[in-house]
């Protein structure tokens, strides 16, 4: 059974390219366009194996989303990777303190992204 990954990004093209990359490598993909929508999906019962979130998004940004997601009992141990253009070290440190699993800077090649996913999901395809 394939692993499910939730992508949170306000860019439709990012979601599209990430979805294509992950699906062709055997993953099932769900997506949300901002943190609040992603949170609603998680509260609706989705239990992804991994969450990949952008940081700078409208409505609810990535850092706020990580904080809210970690407050959900069902999401306490789900790996959360940030994939962002943001390079501010303070935000990077904040994401770590909020419980993010890793920080990835765009643009990130497909093989690099898949390598990180295999690291955080050892049984991944």
């Amino acid at each position: 059974m394939s692993k499910t990954i939730l992508i949170v990004d306000d860019s439709p093209t990012m979601i599209m390219s990430l979805r294509a990359t992950l699906e062709m490598n055997g993953f099932t993909v769900e997506s949300a366009s901002d943190g609040s929508q992603a949170l609603a999906i998680l509260q609706g019962g989705l239990r992804p194996h991994l969450i990949i979130t952008d940081i700078n998004m409208p409505n609810m940004g990535g850092l706020e989303f990580i904080r809210a997601a970690r407050a959900l009992p069902s999401c306490r141990f789900i790996p959360i990777l940030t994939l962002t253009t943001e390079s501010d070290q303070a935000k990077r440190d904040e994401s770590r303190s909020l419980g993010a699993t890793g920080w990835l800077v765009k643009p990130l090649s497909g093989p690099d992204l898949l390598g990180v996913i295999r690291q955080v999901l050892p049984a991944a395809a």
Binding site: D9, S17, T21, M24, R92, V105, G110, D112, V120
Partner: protein
């Protein structure tokens, strides 16, 4: 007539525009060359209006040092509406439209790039589907060949057993035929023995006749001998008759046996056996062919799997590179916002209200809004005296 460049300072918005263009031009070096050229051309237009026919292109040196731009900005900051010449006021009035047009062009580029990226992703997905479809078709073919091999195995085994039985039967028939031939030979020898008996009986018969003649010639003295001769003749006759009857029986039996032998000839049965053996051989060949095809399809399948993995890897890499669109979009958005703020300042200057913020404030604000290291590097290159600061943060960091 030579036109001397007037000594008055360049309006502040021109300097800011150039600064924005320079930053965008640097962005263009990697991501959006069209936008950089377009904005540079816009700057050239404005400056051309302002300075024509200045001997040296003012926009040309994008590499102008940051201190130069700061000097320009500080010069224009002291101007008031009443001090501006008519030409400059007209330029100020048109500045916002011009800047909004530039923002519109930037948005257009963003949309075009997004559409292009979407099309590329769609194509990538189509390529992946084609590869998967090809792999699945070969997989189905392979499954079909395997099924055919399984089907061939069942009747093949049965016919192989049948062939073995027929071979055993052929061997038994051959042995029986040899036995019958041997028996026929024995009968032939028996017939020879009967012939001897017949000849002896014939001789005894003629001897008995001679004995009877001699007995008759000797009269009463030969009467007793005559009786013996008569008995001998009778015995010889009976022996000859018995030998003929036995010989007839042997001949009759030998004929029937010969008929059976002919009927049991291996060559008569060989036709059916050969047909079955040919069928077995055909089936074995079909099995071999199926095995060969299956092996080739398996090899092809492995090649296809490897090829598909390579395709997926390449496509994944390609899709990752498309993230430049998101990076470029955000950088262009930042430049667009800066142009919008610049336009507002131009309007304030034209209306004589005086801008609530200075260009320096705007520049500082820009710096605060940067999210990418590349933005900060460009800013430092053009607007900071200290030069770009190197970033030590890795692109991938797992906590």
């Amino acid at each position: 007539m030579a036109f001397e460049r007037p000594p008055r300072p360049v309006p502040w918005f021109v300097g800011m525009l150039l600064l924005a263009s320079a930053g965008l031009g640097a962005t263009a070096a990697g991501d959006g060359a069209i936008v950089g050229i377009m904005i540079a051309a816009g700057c050239a237009f404005v400056l051309g209006q302002r300075q024509r026919p200045a001997p040296a292109p003012i926009f040309g040196p994008f590499k102008r040092r940051a201190s130069d731009w700061q000097k320009i900005a500080s010069n224009v900051a002291v101007l008031h509406r009443d001090e501006l010449p008519e030409r400059t006021r007209r330029d100020l009035a048109a500045a916002q439209t011009f800047l909004e047009t530039l923002r519109g062009q930037i948005e257009g580029v963003q949309q075009d790039v997004a559409v292009g990226v979407t099309a590329v992703v769609t194509q990538v997905e189509a390529i992946n589907r084609l590869s998967i479809g090809q792999r699945e078709r070969i997989g189905h073919s392979l499954a079909g060949v395997e099924t055919m091999r399984d089907v061939l195995k069942v009747p093949g085994a049965i016919i192989s057993q049948l062939g073995g039985m027929l071979a055993e039967r052929d061997r038994t028939i051959t042995e029986n035929y040899a036995g019958l031939q041997s028996l026929a030979h024995e009968f032939q020898e028996l017939r020879s023995a009967l012939d001897v008996i017949s000849q002896v009986a014939d001789k005894a018969f003629f001897l008995a006749i001679n004995a009877s003649v001699e007995a008759h010639r000797h009269g009463e003295m030969g009467a007793a001998f005559g009786l013996i001769a008569t008995e001998m003749r009778a015995l010889a006759t009976q022996t000859a008759d018995g030998a003929r009857e036995v010989s007839a029986s042997i001949n009759f039996f030998a004929d029937r046996m010969q008929t059976q032998i002919v009927a049991a000839l291996p060559t008569r049965e060989g036709g059916h056996r050969d047909d079955v053996l040919n069928l077995v051989r055909d089936l074995e060949r079909a099995q071999d062919d199926a095995a060969t095809v299956s092996a080739r399809l398996s090899e092809l399948m492995q090649v296809m799997e490897a090829g598909h993995s390579e395709i997926v890897c390449t496509l994944s890499d390609m899709l990752g590179r498309l993230q430049f669109e998101d990076v470029t979009r955000q950088r262009l958005e930042q430049v667009g916002c800066a142009l919008g703020e610049l336009g507002k300042l131009a309007v304030c200057s034209y209306q004589g209200a005086g801008p609530s913020r200075s260009v320096a404030d705007l520049l500082e604000e820009q710096q605060q809004n940067y999210v990418m290291e590349s933005q900060r590097l460009v800013h430092a290159r053009f607007a900071s005296a200290g030069g770009p600061a190197a970033s030590a943060a890795p692109k991938i960091e797992l906590f």
